[in-house]
Structures are given as structure tokens and as C-alpha cells.
């Protein structure tokens, strides 16, 4: 039986501000991500993030996984760190990477995904994308 993939993203603009991921591009606001029927493990995540470099400085992005779909409790995962000395250029870019997790998941229950950024100064905006891989 194949795996199930659920994705969402967010644009985070304030440092140290936990922001829930509820949209998926052209689909706008999506229904809350629930653990698919018959799936009992959040096996891994695909993650990617990039900033718009609107201010100078450095910042780091991470995600939080919460909700009753994860009976073991909330988890936090680092995504990336960015920095720049010049606002105009460079282009920030990150290809998605897969990180294995192996978290117990409860079918039918919700997994809440949050993005957050932190750093020495507000970095402008960082877009963070996540795919949850259920098995």
C-alpha cells in the first residue's frame, strides 16, 4: 500500500511568531490535515524554505508539528537558516529535503503544522513549505 502525502505552506513575516500553515497555493485555505485512514505513522517530512531578503541580517526557520494526530506530543524541526549583507540580491533558494521522523500518528485526527522564524532581526518574509508523509 502506497504512502499518502499532504502538503501546506505559509509566509512568515514576524520573528518569534508561531504561524499556522493552512494554505496550499492556488487551493487557498485547505481543510485541516488529518492522518489518512489506515495510516499510523508520520514517516517523514519534505521541507523547504526561502526568504525575500527584505531586511539585512540572519534568520532561521523551523516548523512545529502539533495536534491530536500525534499522540506522542508536539515536535519541532529545523528547516534552514539564511543571511545576507545586501538587500538587493542574492536569490535565496532551497530544494526540498526529506527528513525521516517515524512519529506515531492517529488515523482521522488532525496534525497542525506551524512555521516560525527567529534571528537577530526580522528577516522580512520567509516562505516555508512542508509535506507530511504518512504510512
Amino acid at each position: 500500500m502506497g504512502k499518502q502525502y499532504r502538503s501546506t505552506s505559509v509566509e512568515v513575516t514576524d520573528a518569534n511568531s508561531k504561524t499556522q500553515m493552512t494554505t496550499q497555493g492556488s487551493k487557498g485555505t485547505i481543510t485541516p490535515i488529518k492522518v489518512p485512514a489506515g495510516k499510523k505513522t508520520l514517516e517523514s517530512v519534505f521541507i523547504a524554505a526561502a526568504g525575500n531578503n527584505a531586511t539585512l541580517g540572519q534568520a532561521h526557520a523551523f516548523i512545529r508539528l502539533e495536534g491530536d494526530g500525534l499522540p506522542g506530543g508536539p515536535e519541532t524541526l529545523a528547516v534552514t537558516a539564511i543571511g545576507a549583507t545586501k538587500i538587493v540580491g542574492p536569490i535565496h533558494h532551497m530544494d526540498a529535503v526529506e527528513e525521516p521522523l517515524g512519529l506515531v500518528a492517529t488515523p482521522g485526527n488532525e496534525v497542525e503544522v506551524y512555521g516560525e522564524i527567529a534571528g537577530t532581526v526580522d528577516p522580512g518574509q520567509i516562505s516555508i513549505g512542508v509535506t507530511l508523509v504518512f504510512v
Partner: protein, 133 residues
């Protein structure tokens, strides 16, 4: 034994899907699941934007159609961002590979589309290869 399907596409509006139906000189490659194939086991891709507009965006790949069993699957391929480059700025390149396990239906068609979610970054697009097994 494996088989591949490669498609590409481009667009210019954020939050508007880009159907992936062409492959350069091959205007409409078949997107039917090849005979004997039961899964998609790997996604290879490259995505990019020209940053003529400042901002940041996440890039999704959606796999749908009757060729995908178990419903539409969406995966993150990457993220791009920045300010409008000046004369001294660098460009970007992208290549990623992700192992997946997506059940497919032989002979049925798979629909692939990119969705750049977030800010308008100017011209953007990508190329995707899916590997069947």
C-alpha cells in the same frame, strides 16, 4: 524494471497552477501509467524563478488524475525568494530527488502540475521526472 515520464512548464502568476504537459520538442508526451508499473518511486525535479519581482514562494507538485490511486498527492519541491536582483546579483539552479511511494493505476493518466504559492516572483517554472516501478 522502471520507466520515466518527464514534463515541464512555466507561468508568471503566483497561486495559479502550471499544468505540466509538454517536454520541449515533444509537445504532448503520454502521461498514461506504463504497462506493468504499479508505483511512482522517485521524483526528480528542478524549479526556478527569474525574480523580476521581489518576494518568496514555496513550490508544490501535485499528482492527480485517475492514474494516481488513493487520491491526489501534493509534495513540496522547494522554496525561492529574494529582492529584485541588481547587476551584481547571482542566479539560481535547482535539482532535487525525492524517494516516494505512490500507488498508480496502469493505463490511466497522471496529471502533474506545479503551484508556486506565495508572492509573484516573475517568470517561473520547472521540469519534473517521475519514475515508475
Amino acid at each position: 524494471m522502471t520507466r520515466t515520464l518527464t514534463v515541464e512548464g512555466e507561468g508568471s502568476d503566483d497561486d495559479v497552477v502550471i499544468p505540466l504537459t509538454t517536454a520541449g520538442s515533444k509537445t504532448a508526451p503520454s502521461r498514461d501509467v506504463p504497462s506493468g508499473m504499479t508505483k511512482i518511486v522517485r521524483i526528480i525535479a528542478g524549479v526556478s524563478a527569474d525574480l523580476v519581482a521581489a518576494g518568496s514562494a514555496v513550490v508544490f507538485l501535485r499528482l492527480g488524475g485517475t492514474g494516481v490511486r488513493g487520491g491526489e498527492q501534493t509534495v513540496v519541491l522547494g522554496a525561492i525568494g529574494g529582492q529584485i536582483p541588481d547587476d551584481d546579483s547571482s542566479g539560481m539552479e535547482s535539482h532535487l530527488s525525492l524517494d516516494v511511494d505512490i500507488d498508480v493505476q496502469q493505463a490511466d493518466q497522471i496529471d502533474l502540475e506545479l503551484d508556486f504559492a506565495g508572492d509573484d516572483l516573475g517568470e517561473h517554472g520547472g521540469v519534473v521526472t517521475i519514475i515508475f516501478a
